[in-house]
């Protein structure tokens, strides 16, 4: 790789790594797994960096690798993992301290969703992607994104309603 490509890659990592890692963490619920996914995706991007930077969409490229790999892994381990278990992650802000008591309960509801639906919510509400960009990130149609989103929100509302009184206020 040429020196200017390498420097450009380093600048990309410095600018985008945290955002991508946060997104990966929200989909996987596991910081170590999120870091592994990010590094693997960045290695793939690094190998093809000259062509990726020319297309001017490196973040979308890396995000797509991360999200699809995270969904695959989660599906493989549907019955194994407890995603988004904030008690496992030292340093997570305490919702009570934050003064927003509903968030822990909402997170626990999100973790009950299938990985694909969870990814749609993260891409739409954390990464702030449009439906079209979400579809590109997931490698599916806009219609699939819409239906996955609708199912996720319906399920989330059901789960929120089932929460004990007061926990979601």
């Amino acid at each position: 790789m040429r020196a200017d490509d390498d420097a450009d890659f380093a600048a990309f990592v410095a600018a985008s790594a945290r955002r991508l890692l946060r997104s990966a963490y929200l989909v996987t619920g596991d910081r170590t797994e999120a870091e592994d996914l990010l590094q693997t995706a960045l290695e793939r991007a690094y190998r093809r960096w000259p062509s990726i930077r020319q297309k001017d969409v490196p973040e979308a490229y890396v995000r797509k690798i991360i999200v699809t790999a995270a969904i695959d892994t989660a599906r493989r381990r549907t019955l194994r993992r407890a995603p988004l278990d904030e008690e496992r992650i030292p340093g997570l802000p305490d919702p009570a301290v934050e003064g927003i008591p509903g968030r822990a309960a909402l997170l626990s509801c999100v973790r009950e969703l299938p990985a694909g639906q969870r990814a749609v919510l993260v891409l739409r509400y954390f990464d702030d992607l449009t439906e079209a960009d979400t579809a590109r990130a997931l490698g599916c149609s806009i219609g699939t994104v819409k239906s996955q989103h609708a199912r996720a929100m319906d399920r989330l509302r059901d789960l929120v309603r089932q929460q004990p009184d007061g926990s979601m206020t």
Binding site: F9, R47, P83, D85, G139, G143, V160
Partner: protein, 397 residues
């Protein structure tokens, strides 16, 4: 909270991930990783084999001399790459000359000729394949999950060469137990469904009926990849209890007979050897989960009857998943140098033998004297992976 969930999600996601920071030196780690992979790719196969032998031997030494410690099975020229796939394999099944490969994300099921390694056919099912099973007559049952684009889930029954199929939609088939050429049992929320399909390519319509007396108990649901199989003459099902990764085994029609779903006994994988079910378990303590744990044998009442040698094995105590063809037990473990081990599954379990597999074993199928394995190297990798056949060690048969 009842007002705007979308707004709450935005704020919750932001605060819940606020503490996440990339590891220091990430760029250099990426560069090093790429260099390491290039070096690996340049290494000759012979050198790689020697390294693997050395690593496995070192692992064997570290595992100690316990009577059930794994023996090393040397890599052999008889192992063979059946195919290299660029997608994520979710399940394998084998019957006769065909090896079937399910790719969840692509909704593909492929058939390979196990003798020539040739790809025979690939079919696209309407949803992600959640269940793959070969039934009587070598017919292939595929259950797929409901999805937004595919609509409701369903079941396909395919000819052995995958060229013809019959189908039934309107049910979610997360696992399938074929009982005849045209009938299979499918676990559902309310018990087992008896699914009947025309032979592939034949006219007619499929049907589904609730099988009387097969309740799985209140609140039971299944999930893609969940296991079900015969235990004696009853169907045993891995059901989810809707609380994250909690699941338990239930004997259909006898919901009082259960195993698992306590803090110390979660279920990773399960398999039946006919008269017993073997389960790879893990514990979750204070929210921490190792995702690996002791291998347990259950009798027809789902009572543990694990041989002491298995319970105390340093390798089998870190099981991650388990498969069986009825004669041999295959166990994926979290011990790096013993990624895949086997043992005879009869009433007297034999020695534990390590196969020359590295990486994370994600799918396996065995028939006769051959086992087919798909492993991700390194674990979790999204790089193309190989499906490799290995001869079954004599000690495991």
């Amino acid at each position: 909270m009842s007002g705007n969930i979308a707004q709450e999600l935005t704020e919750t996601f932001a605060s819940a991930s606020e503490f996440v920071q990339p590891p220091p030196g990430l760029t250099e780690r990426v560069r090093s990783g790429v260099r390491r992979r290039r070096r690996r790719a340049l290494a000759a196969t012979a050198i790689a084999t020697v390294v693997l032998l050395g690593a496995a031997a070192a692992g064997y030494a570290a595992a100690g001399s316990h009577r059930a410690a794994a023996r090393l099975q040397a890599p052999t020229a008889r192992s063979r790459v059946i195919g290299t796939v660029s997608y994520q394999v979710t399940q394998l099944a084998v019957s006769g000359r065909y090896l079937y490969v399910a790719a969840g994300q692509n909704s593909w099921v492929s058939a390979y000729d196990v003798v020539t390694g040739k790809l025979i056919a690939t079919v696209t099912v309407p949803g992600e394949p959640a269940a793959l099973a070969v039934g009587p007559g070598g017919l292939v049952w595929v259950g797929y999950s409901p999805s937004g684009s595919a609509g409701p889930g369903g079941v396909w029954l395919l000819s052995p060469d995958l060229r013809q199929h019959s189908e039934l939609t309107g049910l979610s088939a997360d696992s399938i137990v074929p009982v005849s050429k045209t009938i299979a049992l499918v676990p559902s929320r309310h018990g087992l469904l008896r699914v009947r399909l025309p032979l592939p390519g034949q006219p007619g319509q499929g049907s589904q009926h609730a099988e009387p007396g097969t309740s799985l108990g209140p609140g039971a649901t299944t999930a893609p990849g969940a296991w079900s199989g015969m235990l004696g003459n009853r169907v045993t099902v891995q059901v989810s209890t809707g609380a994250g990764d909690n699941s338990r085994l239930v004997v259909a029609g006898q919901p009082g007979l259960t195993y698992g779903d306590s803090a110390r006994t979660h279920i990773n994988g399960a398999t039946s050897t006919g008269s017993a079910v073997w389960v790879s378990t893990f514990a979750q303590i204070n929210g921490e989960s190792s995702l690996q744990g002791p291998l347990v044998r259950l009798n027809a009442a789902l009572t543990p009857t694990t041989p002491p040698a298995v319970l105390t094995s340093p390798v089998l105590s870190r099981s991650e998943d388990v498969w069986s063809d009825g004669r041999t037990l295959w166990v994926a473990t979290g011990v790096l140098t013993h990624s895949l081990v086997c043992l005879a599954a009869g009433s007297r379990t034999g020695p534990v033998v390590t196969l020359p597999v590295s990486g994370q074993v994600v799918a396996l199928a065995a028939a006769g004297s051959t086992v087919y394995v798909n492993a991700l190297e390194p674990p979790g990798s999204t790089a193309p992976s190989k499906i490799v056949s290995y001869p079954v060690p004599a000690a495991c048969q």
